[in-house]
Assembly symmetry: C2
Homo-oligomer: 166 residues x 2
């Protein structure tokens, strides 16, 4: 095992991305994840037990006009897609997010995250790391945006590249 | 059953809050929820499978210095506390959220949400509803803020109060 999970040994880390590898405009499209009505209801029962996330009949008479996933379920699935898809060294460590849900996620939807780096900012006080700002659109199989998110993510610098600045 | 879940019959709705009942400065403290290491790992395995959310050993050598819940787990628990605690007629329908995690959620933490209404805005185009802006601090048992969130929530007006404006 490496000494720290945030700075894995190079051999465990082939093709992993460090802050030094990232720049604004870079894009990444993740894999996909499909969710069904059972998954929507299971998440809702645990974290967001409102009728429009739990029951087709009540949902059809609600604001949503049919069963819809909790926005936090869409957010959690998006995180899974990003964790599986973005080879950031040390992991995807979010400091915060600004998030909207322009359209509901429905049973049978297949979600995919489209990520774009907006900003890359080395830390002034901590030379081993920095912060990137990333815009992530979560789209369904029809290309509709069900979630739009801007996140701040902590990213480490490549070991050995920042000693002189420390 | 009422005709629409968003406008339940009055008798099903005693003490429920409509937009007309809300104003800036109102506060609400929710119930609590305690989470253990198993809950943290179960959520992470499904939605955020990174070593610092899954394994105590790896977590102790990571950025977090010990097992920490996914921020999305903290967000989901906060939603549950709000859904259980806020008697908003028609439910808690979030349009978006701005969220930061100033401190990690740890195994054994007991979370509680402290909500304050910042703004109440009737819709211009849809007289039956409006939008409130709410600030929610999720605190642990030591009073530390583990999540700070500002949300926009759709809230309906009390039936019968808005006909003249439509």
């Amino acid at each position: 095992m490496p000494e720290t999970a945030t700075h894995p040994a190079p051999d465990a880390n082939t093709a992993k991305l460090y802050l030094d590898d990232l720049q604004p405009g870079q894009r990444h499209v993740t894999g996909t994840r499909t969710l069904d009505a059972d998954a929507i209801k299971a998440f809702a029962a645990q974290f967001d037990p409102q009728p429009f996330h739990l029951d087709e009949g009540a949902a059809s008479r609600s604001f949503f006009g049919g069963l819809a996933a909790s926005g936090w379920h869409t957010a959690a699935i998006t995180m899974r897609l990003m964790v599986d898809g973005l080879p950031i060294a040390g992991g995807v460590i979010g400091a915060g997010a600004d998030i909207t849900w322009p359209a509901p996620t429905r049973p049978g939807d297949t979600l995919q995250a489209h990520c774009e780096i907006l900003e890359v900012k080395p830390s002034r006080s901590r030379p081993d790391r920095g912060m990137i700002t990333m815009r992530t659109e979560t789209r369904n199989q029809r290309g509709e945006v069900v979630q739009l998110m801007t996140t701040k993510v902590v990213v480490f610098r490549r070991p050995g590249t920042w000693g002189a600045e420390g």
